[in-house]
């Protein structure tokens, strides 16, 4: 409970800045409009106008809130939660490729980490490539992935998920290499004294030791996956998904739509990362490793 006051203070500060920003950024448009109409705006009228424009430079929080409600709660109330105009539908589309890409990225990341830890050749050669892969701007490579996969007949969910995977495997590789190498020399010697096989050392020592590292990586990977899914929707002219909403909004100057999609994406990310955090707590508690 003692956390509530500081959190509310910060949230309040953000809202104040946001509303002030809306006034500052939208004022010139309101003034122009007033000048053309030949009227003089009082301060109150100016503020009211900047907070209620149809295509503001920076929409006010309540405008975004209303738009989100119109495209989520209100649609659910009308039983049209999954209509094409619903943000729930678009979030679901983005979520499905995020989730698939996350799973693929995690599997790939863990597999590469195991290879790096157990195979000297891979240890020496793979890591530089893994790092290099992340220096390529994803926006540059995303269309190519989509086009190439389309050319071999793969379309739909998988190409977008591949972009998510491309972003999400990296933190998993880095975290898992560190995690699988976290057992000390003594613990490895101990396994040796019991004449344990390599697979026994892996399942009984290295893998459990790596769990705290894995979960930390998974949180980053989940957020990266979501970014990947949204980026994957941008260059493809996708008609569904939060990325498509962002792009559509920017074509038509629908800033409110852009912002509501952004907030929806952030909420989705928070939920997904929170979910991983919950699984982390439960797992580590079960393992007796919770702090």
């Amino acid at each position: 409970m003692r956390n509530v006051v500081p959190i509310l203070t910060v949230v309040a500060a953000i809202f104040v800045l946001w509303y002030a920003g809306a006034v500052a950024l939208n004022a010139s448009w309101a003034q122009d409009k007033a000048k053309r109409a030949g009227v003089e705006l009082s301060f109150n009228e100016l503020v009211a106008d900047t907070w209620s424009q149809e295509k503001p430079k920076l929409p006010a929080p309540h405008q975004v809130g209303a738009e989100i409600w119109k495209t989520t709660g209100a649609m659910v109330a009308r039983g049209r939660a999954f209509s094409k105009r619903s943000l729930i539908y678009h979030s679901w589309v983005t979520f499905s490729s995020t989730a698939l890409g996350f799973v693929l990225g995690t599997v790939l990341g863990i597999a590469l980490a195991i290879g790096i830890v157990y195979n000297r050749t891979m240890d020496m050669s793979v890591m530089p490539w893994v790092i290099a892969s992340q220096t390529i701007p994803i926006l540059a490579i995303a269309p190519m992935i989509i086009v190439v996969l389309n050319a071999v007949g793969i379309s739909g969910l998988l190409p977008k998920a591949m972009i998510s995977m491309y972003l999400s495997f990296f933190p998993v590789v880095v975290g898992m290499v560190k995690g699988l190498r976290s057992p000390g020399a003594m613990q490895l010697d101990q396994m040796q004294t019991w004449n344990a096989s390599a697979s026994q050392s892996f399942w009984k020592l290295r893998l459990p030791s790596s769990m705290p590292y894995l979960f930390t990586s998974l949180k980053i990977a989940m957020a990266a996956s979501l970014v990947g899914a949204i980026v994957g929707e941008l260059p493809t002219g996708a008609v569904a998904g939060l990325g498509a909403r962002l792009l559509g909004g920017s074509y038509y100057g629908q800033t409110i739509q852009i912002w509501s999609a952004l907030i929806m994406a952030a909420t989705l990310a928070a939920l997904l990362v929170g979910l991983i955090g919950m699984i982390q707590r439960i797992t580590l508690k079960r393992m007796g490793m919770a702090q």
């Binding site: 396994m191 009984k204 393992m287 490793m289």
Partner: protein, 261 residues
């Protein structure tokens, strides 16, 4: 070498190649350990006592001479799971309960479930930790953790116990108590124990044979067969016999220039 010899080292040498030139961790070490012996290795840091123990355990590989454990090469003995090894730190897995930690080597060695349960129960009683099976390591004190790690080394059928300064990180009072328990345990299980320490009273109190070692190069300067009886109450440490052996150990260390820089 007779039938009762469990560990035998002949002209054992181990040289590490470092950037500052070769380091002679062990040089021409000869020693026989008999079945049922309690042998302590004592000496200053760098005298090779831990390296010697690790050679017995096949964790280090000698560069000269030979070592046999149970009549086999150290490697064959390790593969036959001939010994239990207790490290300086308890090294219990935080994600396993005490029982689960003791069960770990048994799982690796493929003991069946019922046998595992029974062995865990037996060794926990042996180290006075009955009832702690379901506790996690962090719920135990340092001394109890080290006892659990000894229990883990006793759980499988190895008649040699190699201990590398197992009580080095514990305070004097706990250490006294554990020394007494260890003697008791040695008496009941009839294991052969090799015990590395840098405490003279601990070495004299525990051992039937004390091996005094010296550094640069790591070598044995004296081997003392203790005349003390098997039955040793803690206050035996105030008897003249005890002090005499302690004195001889100190002389051995001095002869090896262990007190000089």
């Amino acid at each position: 070498m007779n039938d009762a010899t469990v560990i035998s080292a002949k002209d054992l040498s181990l040289t590490f190649q470092t950037n500052d030139g070769p380091v002679h961790a062990l040089k021409d070490v000869n020693l026989g350990v008999n079945k049922g012996d309690f042998v302590s290795f004592i000496g200053p840091s760098g005298c090779g006592k831990t390296t010697f123990l690790r050679c017995m355990a096949d964790l280090e590989h000698p560069t000269g001479g030979s070592i046999t454990v149970n009549g086999m090469s150290a490697e064959a003995a390790r593969q036959a799971r001939a010994y239990g090894y207790v490290f300086q730190a308890a090294g219990l897995y935080p994600w396993r309960t005490i029982g689960g930690n003791i069960r770990l080597p048994l799982e690796i060695m493929g003991y069946d479930k019922a046998d595992q349960d029974q062995r865990v129960k037996r060794v926990l009683e042996l180290v006075d930790l009955a009832g702690f099976e379901k506790k996690f390591p962090w719920q135990l004190s340092g001394g109890m953790q080290q006892r659990a790690s000894i229990a883990r080394a006793l759980a499988f059928d190895a008649d040699i116990l190699l201990m590398d300064e197992p009580f080095g990180a514990l305070d004097e009072i706990v250490r006294d108590h554990l020394n007494e328990q260890l003697l008791n345990l040695w008496d009941r299980t009839n294991k052969t124990i090799c015990f590395v320490t840098h405490s003279i009273p601990e070495a004299v109190y525990l051992s039937t044979k004390i091996v005094v070692m010296s550094p640069r190069p790591g070598r044995i300067t004296d081997v003392i067969d203790s005349p003390l009886p098997r039955e040793r109450p803690l206050d035996i440490r105030d008897t003249p016999e005890f002090l005499e052996i302690a004195h001889r150990v100190r002389d051995g260390l001095r002869a090896g220039h262990s007190y000089e820089d």
